[in-house]
Structures are given as C-alpha cells and as structure tokens.
C-alpha cells in the first residue's frame, strides 16, 4: 500500500498545481494543456484504485475527445500565441467562495458516506462485465436519461448550426 500512497501524493501534487495553473496562466491554449494534465492525473488516480475501465474511459473521453475538441474550437476562433491580458474579468473574485462551497459540500458528502472506512489492501480489479451489468441493470433508467440529454444536445447543435 506504500507505493500507492507515494504515487497518490505525486499525482495529487501534479493535479493541484495543474488546476491552479489552469486559472492563472495567461494563454488560452496553455490553460487547456494544464487542464489535460489535471485530467490525466485523475486517470492515474483511477488506476491506483484498480478501476482500469474508468481510467481508460477518462483518457478516451476527456483527453482524446473533449480536450481535443476544446483546443480545436479555440484554435479556430481566438488562440493567439504569447501572453494575453484580457483573459480575466472583474468578477473573478466571486469564484473563490463558490469553489470553497463546492469543496466543503464534497468533503462533507465523502466523510459522511465513508467515514474512516479504509480501502481493502489488495483491491480486486473491477472487470468490464461487472460495470456493464451494473449500467444495463440497476442503473438503466439514469443511463437512458443521460442518452436523452446527449441526444437533445446534438439536436440543439444541429438547429443552431443549420441556416436553412
């Protein structure tokens, strides 16, 4: 368990530094690349928790698709090289209480539901079949609901993009 703890600490430091640089860097593309670091760190944390399917999904969806589309969109519109000065606006200070509130709520929820319960020493790797049995069994209705949300988003994008 010691090796896992060391790697947890390394990933956690990388993620915290990356998250701070996302909001403080002076270039949109740099901020996006720091966000990639944070998301890759999250994938590493999932591996440490023996949740390999979730880790691979994290890489495929967030790094391979979302961040690529994000960078694609920024580069098509307004990604200048070098530092930019107008990336901040005056209300950035409001973000701090929101972040603290979110941190408090999530910490409370985690401590409330798990307490001082510990992870098993040698966690069993959750196989893909177990996950699919869960998704297409007890969680079928939420899965359908999510699919409808995505479908609605797709139709909305088509309606906005088509002129005729």
């Amino acid at each position: 368990m010691v090796a896992q703890n060391i790697f947890f600490a390394i990933f956690a430091v990388i993620m915290v530094v990356g998250a701070l640089r996302v909001v403080t860097s002076n270039n949109v593309v740099h901020a996006a690349l720091w966000l990639v670091t944070v998301l890759a760190g999250a994938a590493g944390q999932y591996i440490l928790l023996s949740a390999e399917f979730v880790a691979v999904t994290q890489v495929l969806v967030y790094i391979g698709a979302v961040m690529v589309l994000f960078l694609f969109g920024t580069m098509l519109t307004r990604a200048r090289l070098g530092e930019e000065t107008d990336l901040n606006n005056k209300t950035w200070i409001l973000g701090i209480p929101v972040a603290l509130l979110l941190f408090g709520t999530m910490s409370y929820a985690l401590i409330d539901s798990f307490g001082d319960e510990k992870l098993p020493e040698n966690a069993v790797v959750v196989s893909t079949q177990v996950i699919s049995d869960q998704i297409f069994g007890p969680y079928l209705i939420p899965f359908w609901a999510l699919s409808f949300v995505l479908l609605a988003a797709t139709i909305g994008a088509i309606v906005l993009a088509r002129k005729d």
């Binding site: 270039n27 593309v29 740099h30 690349l33 990639v36 390999e52 399917f53 691979v56 999904t57 890489v59 495929l60 790094i63 391979g64 698709a65 961040m67 690529v68 589309l69 960078l71 694609f72 580069m75 098509l76 990604a79 090289l81 070098g82 790797v125 196989s127 893909t128």
Partner: protein
C-alpha cells in the same frame, strides 16, 4: 517471459525486459516498413531503383538518414511557443509507445495483459491528436495551424468508425482482452471444422475493411493526407520541424503504422497463434512454450502483410478532398459499422 527463459526472474527484471521488448516492437517494424516499402516498393512502383549506395541494395540507407537528421540544427521559429513546440513530437511518439503495450506476441510474451486491452488501445491512440494539434499551433505558421486543424478534424471523424468496427470483434469474442481474443480465434471452429480455427476476418470482413480504412486515415497516409498535403500546406503541422524533432514525427508515423498493423493482426487474423487443433491444444494453458519464440515471428509476418497493404494503397491513390473525406467517414463508414454491430449482435444471440 519468465517461462520462456525457464528461470524465475524478479519483477524489476521482467519489467526492464518488457520495456526493452516494447521498444524493439516499436522501432523494428518502423525501420523495416521504411526500408522495404517506402524506399524499395515505392521505387519499384515508380520504375526506379531507390537507394543503392549505402550497403547492399541500400540496406543501410536508414542509418545514414538517421545520422543526417541527428546532425541537423534543432531550429524553431522566432515567434513559436518554444516549450509546446518542443514537447509536441514527444506526445505523438509517446502515444505510439503506449499503444504497443497491450499487443500480445505469444502465450507469455506480452508486455502487459490488460483486461480492457482493446479499449485501452483505442484510448491512447487518440492522444496523438493532441500532439499534432499543439504542434500546428505552436509553430506560429498559418500553414502549420491549418494542417493541425485538418488533422484534428480528420482524426476525430475516423476515430469513431475505428471504435465501432472493433466492437464487432469484441462481441464475437466476448472479451476486450487481446489474449482472449487471440485464443478465441485459434480455438474456434467453422461449423465444426477446426482446421484453420476461426479468424475473425472471415466473419468480420466488413469490420476489417472499415478498420483498415480508418487506420489509413488515422495515420494520415494518402489518400487521407489532407493534413500534410504538400502541394497546399508545404508539410502541414510538420512544416517548421527540423533535425531530431522531425525524425520523431517521422518515426511516429511509420511506427504507428506498424503497431496498428499488429493490432489488426491480433484482432482479425488470429494474432500470434496457429490453429490450436493442429497440435491438440484446447486452451491457453496447454499451448507449448515454443510459441513464445514462433509467436513474435508470426506476428511480424502478419504485420508486414498488413502494413504492405497500407503502403500499397498510399502509393496508388490520389488525395481525397476535405469535404469528400468528411462525408466518407460520417455518411458511409459510421452507418455501415453500426449495421455491422447490429448484425453481429443478432447472429451472436442466434447461434
């Protein structure tokens, strides 16, 4: 691997051997593809001799080329984003090295026996898009940026048919683990006849064709070479790169061709195995140890055949236009692969 050498190796030694094996499995196919296909087959198809001076029939030309690239100055444009410009080729090459990690070469000759191997391969192959995109942006050159944007649009579009084509194989094998897929093909039988196993190229012919087309596009090889179209964009996202960093892009391109051929061989052509019925094997455990030596050779042969097809198509066809390219992915490949998934699922349940 420990069985192969008949000694019990400590974990760290196994790890070092696997990392070395992975490096060989990336660089050896890349070098072979460049020499055999890019230098010699292309020359033959264009009625010329190709490199002849360095070594017998120019066999050492590749070493000369690498020596030349290593000596060149590592230039970067004045207005470029230097750090990102420098790491971009490393991102592309890293994705290739990560990709080979799940390809099995024999019953014990694997680098990592990942449960969700197929899914992992598709995920890490999509990371290279990120490297190409930031290479184009950081070059401070409008041709590079256009090349990077074209590459991103193309790779996203062809990622989907690739994932969907593989799902047919996953349904038929009932597993996402490469080893189990290979075993399922070699232990399988066609209507009770087990003479050649059941390579999925027979049942998943549609999936195989879609997969190879998508690989061609993912590698940005002609006819899908809009991102580096040399008559329009100089050399696309690679325009500003020189010396060692260009070499990294170059190795990345051909090494990825080799690794994708290895993956296609494992998914559709039976991988490292020979039909198990020939030697009376019935499962993974009864496979003889000598397969750890023969397996890599079989994989290498299949890799050469498949990358030969990729290069053959590359040298034969003219380039697609951007709109044709996108239409082909979204209006032909994706619907066909969805139909393939439906048909496979229905037949899987029926039999």
């Amino acid at each position: 691997m420990s069985v192969l050498l008949a000694v019990d190796m400590p974990y760290w030694l196994q790890t070092i051997l696997r990392v070395l094996g992975g490096t060989v499995a990336v660089l050896l196919p890349a070098g072979t593809i460049v020499y055999v296909f890019l230098f010699k087959m292309m020359s033959f198809m264009q009625s010329r001799l190709g490199p002849m001076e360095a070594g017998p029939y120019g066999a050492f030309q590749l070493f000369a080329e690498v020596g030349k690239w290593l000596q060149k100055e590592d230039l970067y444009p004045d207005r470029a984003d230097k750090f990102i410009f420098k790491i971009a080729p490393i991102v592309v090459l890293t994705s290739t090295f990560l990709l080979v990690a799940v390809v099995p070469f024999g019953p014990d000759a694997w680098f990592t026996n990942f449960e969700a191997g197929v899914f992992y391969a598709l995920a890490v192959s999509s990371v290279s898009v990120l490297g190409i995109l930031i290479a184009g942006w950081a070059s401070a050159n409008k041709y590079s940026l256009l090349g990077g944007l074209r590459a991103a649009g193309q790779l996203i579009a062809y990622e989907l048919p690739m994932v969907l084509a593989v799902i047919g194989v996953v349904i038929q094998a009932g597993s996402m683990n490469f080893q189990e897929i290979v075993v399922a093909q070699n232990a399988g039988e066609i209507f009770g006849w087990n003479g050649i196993g059941n390579p999925y190229i027979l049942t998943q012919m549609v999936g195989f064709i879609i997969f190879m087309i998508a690989v061609q596009a993912e590698l940005t090889q002609t006819p899908f070479d809009m991102p580096i179209a040399e008559s329009e964009l100089v050399s696309g996202y690679m325009t500003e790169y020189s010396g060692f960093r260009f070499l990294m892009f170059f190795i990345g391109e051909f090494a990825t061709a080799g690794v994708f051929s290895l993956i296609a061989a494992a998914l559709f052509l039976g991988g490292w195995g020979i039909p198990f019925a020939w030697f009376g094997w019935d499962s993974m455990d009864s496979v003889d140890n000598w397969m750890n030596i023969v397996g890599p050779l079989i994989m290498f042969t299949k890799m050469m055949v498949l990358s030969g097809i990729i290069m053959w198509v590359r040298f034969s066809y003219p380039r697609f236009r951007e709109d044709q390219l996108q239409k082909f992915a979204w209006k032909v490949l994706i619907p066909v692969s969805l139909l393939n998934i439906m048909a496979t699922a229905i037949l899987k349940v029926a039999f």
